[in-house]
Structures are given as C-alpha cells and as structure tokens.
C-alpha cells in the first residue's frame, strides 16, 4: 500500500459509511442510542476534508491524520476507539510504500489500541469481535478474506450478550441484535478489499 492507496482506502470508508449510515443508526437504535451512523458519517466527512490538500509523505501520515481527526470530530465511544486504531496504525507505517505484511502488523496494532483503550474482551459484542478475526484472516489470506471474516463475525455478534458499551445496559435484551460497531468494522475492512 502506498500513500495514494491509503488515501483511496480512507475515501472508500467515507463513501461506504455515508451510504450505510442509516443501517448503522438503525442497529444502534435497537441496543444503543441511535447515533453510530451519524457519528461515523460526521467523522469521515471531517477526515475527507482534513486529508484534502494535506501533504502526506508516508502511509502512516494518512492514517495518523485520519485517526487524529476522528478523535477530534466524532465523540462517543467509536470516535476515540477508531481514532486510536488509525493513529496506532499510522505510527507503525513510516514509509511511503508498505508491504502487506507491514499493513497486517499495523492492523494488529490498531486492534491492540482498541482493546487497550476500551478494555473489551472477545465475545463482549463490540467492534473487537470483528477486528480480531479480520486481522487474523488478513495476515493469513489477505484483504478479501479479512473483509469476509469481519462481515461474518459482525453477523455473529447477533447471538452475543453485550458486556461493554451502551448495549451492555440491556443485559439479556441485547441478544438478537447485531452490534453496530462490529458492523462498521466490517465496512472498514470491505473498503480495504
């Protein structure tokens, strides 16, 4: 992945998040507060504006800028979590062109940042449940497999009871609904494929 491809990835995320905003909001209405779609739409629109004309020398520059913008524009739980993930990825990718292996390491660093910040365990019904298999699949089989793994894992959150985030307040009533954050994670990996 080079700088231009990194920009394309982010642009693709922005487009898919915009297109799927209503779906994400609907999922978040069922077990949260109904703002996940609006949050990410607002965030990636700001990222788009921030990257426009921004001089990036490395892949990391693009991702770090993305993360910092998400942190300062989104709010909520997903803002700091996704923002920290992109910032962590950015920090590891210090050259203008990076290998797939380096990208895999970066994605792993992103996941680590989310887990460190949010403290969620696998199975807690959060974005972690999609990131985890996606990163593993990326490393073994590349971006297509990662996207598919994330999508499957997002769907599989439906059967889980939430232990983190707003959905945890619903207790057993959170079962039967797909996690919005895991769903947006699948969008991020699909945009990479």
């Amino acid at each position: 992945m080079n700088v231009e491809q990194a920009r394309e990835w982010i642009a693709a995320i922005a487009a898919t998040v915009e297109a799927e905003a209503e779906t994400l909001t609907r999922l978040d209405s069922a077990i949260g507060d109904g703002d996940h779609g609006a949050n990410l739409k607002r965030g990636f629109a700001a990222v788009r504006a921030a990257l426009d004309g921004f001089e990036a020398h490395t892949v990391g520059d693009v991702l770090t800028k993305t993360g910092a913008t998400l942190i300062s524009k989104v709010g909520g739980a997903s803002g700091p979590l996704y923002g920290s993930a992109f910032r962590a990825m950015g920090k590891t990718l210090t050259s203008p062109d990076v290998t797939t292996e380096q990208l895999g390491d970066a994605l792993d660093a992103g996941l680590a940042a989310i887990r460190k910040l949010g403290g969620a365990q696998p199975g807690d019904k959060t974005m972690v449940d999609a990131w985890l298999p996606a990163v593993a699949a990326f490393r073994r089989k590349g971006p297509q497999a990662a996207a598919t793994a994330a999508e499957e894992a997002a769907r599989a959150t439906t059967d889980l009871q939430a232990r983190k985030g707003r959905a945890s307040y619903l207790g057993e009533r959170s079962i039967g609904h797909q996690d919005p954050g895991a769903t947006s994670t699948a969008l991020i990996f699909r945009a990479l494929a």
Partner: protein
C-alpha cells in the same frame, strides 16, 4: 418528527445560541460547543468541568455558574463531546488550582474525558475525575461497562461546586464528589421513547399500555418491559431497587426527575408516593427537587434519585448557587 428546530444537524449549536441570548452572564464558545461562567477562570478556585451528549437539558450547560460548574461541554445529541472541546473547557475553567472532571459513566464519555485529561496534564493542568455511576437498574461488575451516570450527576455537580467555591483543593473537591456518587442511587421508568432529531422517529415502539423499566437517559430501551401500573407501584419499584443497591436510612436528598415529556403534575403525584414509601423505610427527605433536570429529549418518563446525605453534603447542597437551572441562596 415534530420539533421546534431548524435543521436536525444544527440543533445543539442553535440551542447554545439561544442559551447565550437568554443568559448574558454566561459565555458560549460556539466552535467547541461550551458554556462557560462569565467570570471564568476564577483565580485560585478549583475549576469544575462537566459535559456529555446533549439532549439532557438543563444538564450540563444549565448548571454553569457561581456555586456549580465553571464550564460544560455539549456534545452532539446523545454523543459525548470530543477531547479537544473538553480540553478547551478545562483550560477555560482552570484558575491555577486544577480542574475536576465530572463524567457520567459511559464508554464514550469516559474515553473522551480521559484523552482530554491527558492532554490537559501535558499542558500542566492538574485534573482529577469523578465518575458518576448511580443508575442501579444496571448491575455493577468489573466485566461490563458498569452502571450508567444519571440523576446523581446533578447532586455531584452541586455539592462539588459548593466545596470548590469555599476554596477547597482539587483533591478534596474530587473526594466529596466521589462520596456523593457512592451514596446515590437512581432508577428510571419510561412511558414513551425519545426521538432524536437525527433519527426522526422514536427509538423504540411501546404499546399503549406498557412501560420500559430501568431505562437510561439516552433513549435506549430499559432492562425489561412491563404493563403500566399505578404511580404508587412505579414508586415502590424505584424505591425498592435503589434501597436494595444503596441501603441506608436517615437524611437523604431526593430528586424526582422528569425525562422531558412528563408534566410536573405527574412528578408531584410520584413524589407524594415516594415520600410515603421512603418514610416507611426510615429515610428522611431532608432536601428534594421535583422537575425536569436530567432529561432524555422528549421521553415521557421519570426517575428517582436518592442520595444518602451526611451533614456536610447537606450543608454544601444548601450553599448558594446561581445557574440557569438551579438557583438559590444568592
């Protein structure tokens, strides 16, 4: 959706503009969506900052002023504010004695305030945090996000604000805030769902004879659904849940709080029941508030908050306060 708004995307900004027009004694920072005491920072005083998603008015912007908050951050509706805004509020509130962050326990609020606290620390501003988690409808556990912060936030802000006004140190102000939180429990019931301007329709459908029991203040469904009962039974449910999770007797500060769409006449009916029930459990209502203070947009519903208060807490509760939402003694 029928609301007095111009554009769903601009509600928070325009409500802040309205607040600024109504309260020239406050300063509004439109870029960061902050409400700030007109004379902030107060030299030598421990600063107090709170904030969170909007839609809970008068919380938090309505509690800015002498005796309570120095600054409040208004996030988008039901979305916690961003670290930059919280940092700006912290700077505005810092009179050299450090700043207390009063944070409702939601993942988003916690993370954004944490980041802001780090940034403030980098700038040399001492920050302490009080996490409010009074909603006993949610089971407490280290494995989960824990309990939500709801009505007790008002009491924490009032009491901490009073102590800070007396010149107490950041450490002491934080300690009293934590004490108030620890001694407080809340429980809410909703009769209708809230409609966020962005979603445009109610967050959930609720049949005409059912209520959501154990709701929060973000329009989310509650712990369970039940048939609507008489005010007496609703009050009993609330009192039981709170005194089970937070046992205690003697003096209490009691808040019967409307969620936004419930009129005062019903809140008073509920308060009457609550007062009888608390009396039977040897809890004395030493101070009380009845009204819409910590709301969830237009949700019809009510919450009870009980804070087992000692003399010091009562003294600080009684101290003068002058804000749009609470004012007495001045």
């Amino acid at each position: 959706m029928k609301k007095f708004i111009n554009d769903p995307g601009d509600v928070v900004a325009q409500a802040l503009a309205g607040l600024a027009a109504a309260h020239p004694e406050l300063r509004v920072d439109p870029d960061n969506q902050l409400v700030i005491r007109g004379d902030a920072p107060v030299r030598g005083k421990t600063g107090i900052v709170s904030g969170g998603g909007s839609g809970h008015e008068p919380l938090h912007g309505g509690f800015v002023g002498p005796g309570m908050l120095d600054a409040a951050c208004a996030g988008e509706v039901f979305t916690s504010p961003v670290p930059d805004a919280i940092l700006a509020a912290t700077r505005a509130a810092d009179g050299g004695a450090g700043v207390l962050h009063i944070v409702k326990n939601y993942t988003g609020d916690v993370l954004n305030f944490e980041m802001a606290a780090e940034l403030a620390g980098d700038e040399g501003i001492a920050v302490e945090t009080v996490l409010v988690d009074d909603d006993v409808a949610v089971q407490d556990s280290t494995w989960t996000a824990g309990r939500r912060g709801t009505g007790a936030t008002l009491i924490v802000e009032k009491v901490a604000g009073a102590l800070a006004t007396e010149g107490a140190s950041l450490k002491d102000v934080a300690a009293i805030g934590r004490l108030v939180n620890e001694r407080s429990g809340s429980f809410a019931v909703a009769l209708t769902a809230a409609t966020t301007p962005a979603a445009g329709r109610p967050g959930f459908d609720l049949p005409d004879d059912e209520m959501e029991v154990g709701v929060g203040i973000h329009g989310e469904p509650g712990r369970r659904r039940a048939k609507v009962t008489r005010a007496h039974d609703v009050a009993a449910l609330m009192v039981d849940a709170i005194l089970t999770a937070k046992p205690g007797g003697g003096d209490a500060i009691v808040l019967v709080n409307g969620l936004g769409g419930t009129p005062l006449i019903e809140l008073y009916v509920l308060f009457g029941e609550v007062s009888r029930l608390l009396g039977e459990r040897d809890v004395t209502i030493a101070r009380s508030l009845v009204g819409n203070y910590v709301t969830s947009l237009d949700m019809a519903g009510a919450a009870l908050t009980v804070c087992h208060a000692d003399e010091e807490i009562l003294r600080l509760w009684d101290a003068p306060v002058r804000t749009p939402g609470l004012r007495w003694g001045v």
